[in-house]
């Protein structure tokens, strides 16, 4: 028996900000969930199961927060699952929910991911002082910057490419009312002039720390037929993992990322992603990861990703727009960041992305990764159901 097609019929986000001091964690997730239900014109009673994700519990210090969030998400008396895959968790959470629908376990599933970074310090949570080990010498960006230098060496990319990505994403964010950073006076010169924190990473090429939540309502064919607005259809979805460190690990283009993308394209019948996909929401926490992931995802050959960025191909009006929403560079509630990528991809093919809508977007990729390039999750969504 073939899989049940999976449709996204409701999407909700909070306005992402540095600190939501007016709400509890429950109030934060509730806001996104409520908006997703409203978008789908459904009530709590229409939801069969809830799948929730967030980054490590140390980020807020609430152990297993899903237990206390059941009331807020209308999950009492229903199955509720928690997904853990570090920074990619928003994507994997959506895929676990989608698989429940595809397998006909449930008809309509609410999926949600969140982070309330203001309640703690993620960097602290990631660098506990382990006895006998050398303390981390470089801070948050120090993990990523050497990999970026390796990419620059391998590809011969000019030093300006990172700034171009940051300038583009921050301008895109101005068209997205939910984005955290709205830098109205952003210029390329300002990005270039921002302090070099972890050379080659400038301050303006790093992601912010955000409080936010994102939710989606996923449903089957029958649910999609009742939806008040056009659904987005899942055409392919996959997860892959590999160790954070091993001999032969390629941090510039991890094998797990390549394999994950290839699986998604195979499911969706995509043979030339660069031509057949109309846009991508890619997890780019530091600007240089745009060209790196363009290669890893098969949108460009090895060493060629930066040329797409430099030529303006990934601009909102380019022919492969990337991070139309402003991306992780403009909004980063860590656990939710992956789901925001998935949801923004769905908004595009539904034609609901507002000012940052790509005209005629029919197939858009949502991508997430995390845990030191350990986990990858991706989906491709389309305006048409997978069978037609």
């Amino acid at each position: 028996m073939s899989k049940e097609p999976v449709a996204v019929v409701g999407i909700g986000q909070t306005k992402h900000v540095a600190a939501r001091r007016d709400v509890s964690i429950a109030g934060l997730v509730r806001e996104a969930a409520r908006r997703a239900l409203d978008d789908a014109e459904l009530t709590w009673a229409d939801i069969d199961a809830v799948v929730i994700g967030k980054a490590p519990d140390f980020f807020e210090g609430v152990m297993m927060p899903e237990l206390y969030l059941a009331d807020a998400l209308g999950a009492v008396g229903k199955p509720m699952l928690r997904v853990h895959t570090a920074g990619s968790v928003g994507g994997s959470t959506a895929l676990v929910a989608a698989n429940l629908v595809a397998a006909r376990v449930h008809g309509t599933v609410l999926t949600l991911a969140f982070e309330k970074q203001s309640e703690s310090n993620a960097m602290w949570g990631l660098s506990l002082p382990i006895p006998f080990q050398q303390p981390l010498l470089a801070g948050a960006g120090g993990f990523f910057a050497p990999h970026i230098r390796a990419y620059m060496r391998r590809s011969g990319a000019p030093e300006t490419v990172g700034a171009l990505v940051a300038y583009k994403d921050r301008r895109n964010a101005l068209k997205n009312p939910y984005a955290h950073l709205h830098e109205h006076d952003i210029t390329l010169d300002k990005v270039m002039a921002s302090p070099m924190l972890w050379d080659p990473i400038r301050y303006s090429e790093t992601c912010p720390s955000s409080d936010g939540a994102c939710a989606m309502v996923l449903t089957d064919r029958a649910g999609a037929a009742r939806a008040p607005r056009p659904p987005a259809w899942m055409l392919g979805g996959a997860m892959r993992s590999e160790p954070t460190l091993f001999a032969g690990k390629d941090f510039v283009s991890p094998q797990a990322g390549q394999d994950c993308a290839a699986d998604v394209y195979r499911q969706a019948g995509i043979t030339d992603p660069r031509r057949e996909i109309d846009g991508a929401e890619i997890y780019v926490p530091f600007s240089w990861y745009e060209p790196m992931w363009l290669e890893n995802l098969g949108f460009a050959g090895e060493g060629e990703g930066w040329k797409l960025t430099e030529a303006g191909v990934t601009e909102l009006d380019g022919d492969l727009p990337v991070n139309m929403s402003g991306g992780v560079l403009s909004t980063n509630p860590i656990g939710a960041s992956g789901m925001i990528r998935f949801a923004e991809a769905a908004l595009q093919v539904r034609g609901q992305a507002g000012e940052h809508q790509v005209d005629g977007a029919r197939r858009v990729l949502g991508h997430a990764y995390g845990g030191g390039s350990q986990f990858f999750s991706m989906w491709l969504v389309g305006a048409e159901p997978p069978d037609s």
Binding site: R21, G27, E60, N121, R149, R154, L197
Partner: protein, 313 residues
């Protein structure tokens, strides 16, 4: 086999909590010696209050005051109180249904011993002398044989409400790095770097983990690597990290020690930061009394050819 290393690991952090409207009213109430619950659609009063109805999932904001007296619904004796618990002498953990509430609140009961505690016993709140808007504003419960107190019908509106709290958390672990890392750390004390070779793929892991992450097999063959190595990639750190006494800018590098199949991390010194490059040949500089090399400095050898380390990037 030498003894495996062990050390205490304390993880603690002052997490902050934004309370939202309902918990804000509840904790502010405690500060003012008022206990508030919420009334659900089906007419029950929940104490402690919740923001969303567990039955209908709807918002609940109907605050209602209950009495500071109540009944123990169940309990457990705590023979040995630990750090941070409400009382320092042995006490009972109790669930108390306050008069006017339909659910029970977890707290401590000050009683001389387990024989003095029973389900159904009447208790009342003993308020803390100094109250800040926290659950500890209830110092504990105490046995009570007086009348049921009458709540004053507080609305839940307060001047100067508490909107956030600090929830200090502390976890005490005993950490052991395991057999392989213990051997690695012991070798470091003789200023030698010893990894382990995978019997299957022959890769040398430094530091060793005791198993090969790609082959999934145990490793045991010890291999001394270095002391010299090659800078495979690096970044220049321009911001001072907290708790780190290193002058910026400095170079944080990935260094593939000769004979190792993946890079470890270290600081580069003995050369201006802007002259560090990929392929630079380096050696460790040890200081008295430190477990790891303080930094790595150039050896003066010609740079390594890119092809010799590109697989280690």
């Amino acid at each position: 086999m030498p003894e495996v290393l062990k050390a205490p690991l304390v993880v603690e952090f002052p997490f902050t909590r934004s309370l939202g409207p309902v918990q804000s009213a509840f904790l502010t109430g405690l500060r003012e010696r008022v206990v508030l619950g919420v009334r659900t659609a089906d007419g029950r009063t929940l104490v402690p209050p919740v923001e969303y109805d567990p039955v209908t999932a709807e918002d609940i904001r109907d605050l209602v005051e209950v009495a500071p007296t109540g009944t123990v619904t169940t309990w457990a004796w705590n023979h040995a109180p630990r750090r941070g618990q409400p009382l320092t002498t042995p006490f009972a953990w109790v669930l108390v249904r306050l008069d006017g509430a339909d659910t029970a609140l977890l707290h401590a009961l000050d009683a001389p011993g387990p024989d003095a505690v029973h389900t159904g016993m009447r208790v009342r709140i003993r308020w803390a002398a100094e109250r800040t808007g926290a659950i500890t504003d209830i110092a504990c419960f105490e046995p009570y044989d007086g009348d049921r107190a009458q709540p004053a019908g507080h609305t839940g509106e307060f001047e100067d409400p508490v909107t956030g709290i600090v929830a200090a958390a502390r976890l005490d672990y005993t950490y052991s790095p395991g057999r392989a890392q213990t051997a690695y750390i012991n070798a470091l004390s003789g200023r030698r770097t010893v990894g382990e070779r995978c019997p299957s793929c022959r890769k040398v892991y430094v530091p060793p983990r005791g198993a090969c992450p790609t082959c999934g097999v145990a490793t045991s063959e010890q291999v001394e690597v270095g002391p010299r190595g090659t800078v495979t990639t690096f970044c220049i750190v321009n911001i001072k990290a907290k708790n780190l006494d290193i002058e910026v800018p400095y170079v944080y590098a990935h260094i593939a020690l000769d004979g190792a199949d993946l890079a470890l991390h270290g600081r580069i010194g003995g050369i201006p930061y802007d002259e560090v490059r990929m392929g630079l040949r380096v050696e460790p500089v040890w200081t008295e009394g430190s477990r790891y090399p303080d930094h790595y400095r150039p050896t003066g050898e010609p740079d390594a050819d890119y092809d010799t380390y590109k697989e280690l990037l």
